[in-house]
Symmetry: C2
Subunit: 147 residues, 2 copies
């Protein structure tokens, strides 16, 4: 394989690949914990955000979650099917749809919180609290610089 050169070895330093790998691993840890209550990490995040925001239209919710709007639509369809959120036409603007956590959604969130906490603690224990704090700080910094 004459084309296998040192030149290609540096490609391993890809920051995109690096963060994606870690994100997959962390996600799997949280999925394992949250699976016990039948909820996914991304669903948990949406429920938690809705618990704080109250009724909110789709686009500002997507902004707040830094999520793609079209992906949010489809994710919310699942949450609605599960009865965790209510989606209604916007009260003033007929283009809007506003979403809010239902009582069932609050229940599911309450039920999930202890498992989420276990995931947070497990990650902290495995990664080391200092490393994790530094990491989160740097991730936040980078997020702000990229938005």
């Amino acid at each position: 394989m004459s084309r296998r050169k040192e030149k290609y070895q540096r490609l391993a330093d890809c920051s995109c690949d690096r963060i994606r790998r870690s994100a997959r691993q962390v996600t799997q840890l949280y999925e394992t914990m949250l699976r016990e209550v039948g909820i996914k990490p991304s669903q948990f995040t949406i429920l938690a955000t809705l618990a704080n925001s109250g009724t909110i239209a789709l686009s500002p919710l997507a902004d707040q979650l830094m999520l793609d709007r079209t992906g949010l639509t489809r994710n919310l369809a699942v949450l609605e099917r599960n009865g965790w959120v209510r989606i209604q036409p916007g009260p003033h603007d007929q283009r809007q749809r506003v979403v809010a956590l239902s009582n069932l959604g609050f229940d599911k969130l309450d039920q999930a919180i202890p498992h989420w906490r276990r995931a947070q603690q497990a990650l902290s224990k495995k990664a080391g609290e200092t490393t994790l704090v530094d990491l989160r700080e740097n991730l936040l910094k980078i997020s702000k610089q990229l938005s």
Copy 2:
């Protein structure tokens, strides 16, 4: 909304959500740069890995990439359709399939590298080199602790 309490505000400190957001943002930066040569970040990573590994069976490749094996299968199907990789039955083990970069794949990789470098540099510039180095270090540390 009587159930909107401080209790839910702490949920914003989710490490899983934090890393996933940043991963999305970083991925989008790389996608923007790599789109010009018609290749995705994850495809780039696979091509780069294959350039270094040479012919390799699917499972060890998935291990090396820390990728789900079944996802790799489907990703490779696209790469094969594009003519960037060759997939053949394993020479000794009839269960295996071994994959290798084709000449077209090396060409595509060579073509993509300058754009990937631009993405790396853009990220470094936006995030700050120090922050980025720290981040990568912590990500690597966490990856090792979680694997």
